[in-house]
Symmetry: C2
Subunit: 343 residues, 2 copies
């Protein structure tokens, strides 16, 4: 059979502020692939169905000499990230054509992969859309569930404050906190996001662009568990209005990602006087401990409608750059999933 | 028998920067007490032997309207703090004349106290000097031991960095870290303190006034456990040179206590990328969990010479203000103990 085009989405230039589609990244269709004859060398050939577009992608678009928890992308090479693909051919005994596998996939329609142990076969007995497995039942849900179990120590009647509450992680955290009997304060950056936050159960929801976070926390706090997605001035407000022994879960500091002159928190001495515990984490570090319980329980809760979620689907690999930009600027409303191909 | 003078050390004025003996605090001998006839009302009469002079005392010399973990001192009332006293008379069935009790005592030669449950009877089977029980075997040793057990998760061959390493807490932490097989970096503010730090076992000891902390950590780190006594710029250096999964134990931020314009840490995003856990604590919150094991083991280790310590004794209740000022300015070398009376 004839080779088919194999479009790729390439990293072209390190951005200074926000990434610019077509400049920071470009879609390239110069390569082709023969799906029937491409050598597998003991590995397997996959067709990418859905890619997850997340805030952390920005941190990989950097000078590789800058140290970080996640390696930098290579210039002129395709991006990569969490996604779901279907196996077309396999020489690996653990994978079979038709298997759907979740893990790190290349921003490329078809790829030959080598290490099956890096992927998880998703059976989807719940019959959820495949996109759910890169969002609510993928890294976003994992992030919320793992760190909540590891750090939150929730107590009934205590107060949780969740930033980026309309995001895929934040909205899930709100629902976990409510299920644990907490009062939940949550913020977002637009009125329709605030409505969504309320619809998933937040007791107090506000638009941080029109109301001061510090004022809301002074009235509705103090805060026992702070889920931080933004850092900076919001982190300072949470420290200022923390309860004694409060747990801070540092999931993101998006306020600092696109700016070199970030806000400097001024009240760190309260870490001592309030006896705070502040915990940074990367989801992959908690995965081994919690992953089996997660897949055994969480997709079923989603399928039963106990956990609600919202997607922001973008269609077409060529639109990856725009999807990334939307996530960095906060334009997306719901978990950004890039639909690359149908099953 | 005739009443005897009962000197008191009073809080007179809220200091702006460093406390000034004779102005912030004054010694007062206007009161007397009849030790044989003073009514006990079911309580007990104590004679104070040794008082502990610690950095946190400064934080109690504040406007009481400012919220903190520890109540403010009352103006024109005596100071109070951890100390050791001997019971002279008792109407409480759990205490007897001659019992030595550790707990919060008033800066006053003789006091009638009401609640025996707030004190611990010290048997001193190790025959240590009583002053040891307000320092190395009192709050300083408790602070080091409790927080080390709760937060350090030490691993052989990993690196600990201890600030204020010549202080009573810091020097103890150095010895706990060495006993757990760690490499220990420690800092202090004078060359003779650096010599002492080396003598208790630190692998790398430096004078932070003549060497940059960041340079030493860049060379000798990265740091897996940071014992913070100072905060500010030093905390920033420890974050910058932290290992992944490093544990920060926030014991003090003395750099911020006497200044309203403290240094602002600029690299908090590394809490995420390095997956740091930063833990503030007050020793009293950990006491219930660890106190019995502490008294069962630690004084014996000190008596056997396994844990070394250094005292900075000041003699006479009237010198309390000077002792406090010495601790705030770092003039003391060793645990400051105020010897109020002999046994």
């Amino acid at each position: 059979m004839a080779p088919v085009p194999n479009g790729r989405y390439l990293f072209k230039e390190i951005p200074v502020g926000f990434p610019i589609p077509g400049q920071t990244t470009v879609y390239d269709e110069s390569q082709t692939i023969d799906l029937h004859t491409v050598p597998l060398n003991g590995g397997f050939l996959v067709k990418v169905l859905v890619l997850s577009i997340d805030p952390y992608i920005r941190s990989k678009m950097r000078d590789p000499s800058i140290d970080s928890y996640t390696p930098a992308y290579f210039l002129n090479e395709p991006l990569y990230g969490y996604g779901l693909a279907v196996v077309l051919r396999s020489e690996d005994a653990t994978l079979h054509p038709g298997d759907h596998i979740y893990g790190i996939h290349t921003f490329k329609h078809y790829s030959v992969k080598a290490d099956a142990s890096q992927y998880r076969v998703i059976k989807n007995e719940e019959k959820l859309p495949w996109s759910a497995y890169v969002g609510i039942c993928g890294m976003a849900g994992e992030t919320a569930c793992y760190a909540w179990k590891e750090y939150a120590r929730p107590q009934k009647g205590q107060v949780a404050f969740v930033t980026a509450g309309a995001g895929p992680v934040g909205a899930t955290v709100i629902q976990l906190a409510k299920a644990d009997g907490m009062k939940v304060i949550a913020s977002a950056g637009s009125d329709d996001k605030v409505d969504f936050i309320k619809s998933v159960g937040a007791d107090v929801a506000f638009n941080y662009k029109t109301e001061r976070t510090a004022d809301v926390l002074a009235k509705e706090g103090p805060v026992d568990v702070y889920w931080d997605n933004v850092g900076g001035e919001t982190l300072e407000a949470a420290i200022e209005h923390s309860a004694r022994y409060a747990r801070f879960i540092e999931c993101g500091m998006i306020s600092a990602y696109n700016s070199s002159s970030s806000y400097h928190v001024k009240n760190l001495t309260k870490i001592l006087s309030r006896e705070l515990s502040i915990n940074g984490f990367i989801v992959s570090s908690l995965r081994a401990k919690y992953v089996d319980a997660f897949y055994a329980e969480f997709p079923a809760r989603v399928a039963r409608g106990e956990i609600q979620y919202k997607e922001y689907p973008v269609r077409g690999l060529a639109e990856a750059g725009q999807a990334i930009a939307d996530v960095q600027s906060g334009k997306n409303f719901g978990k950004c999933v890039l639909i690359v191909a149908d099953d």
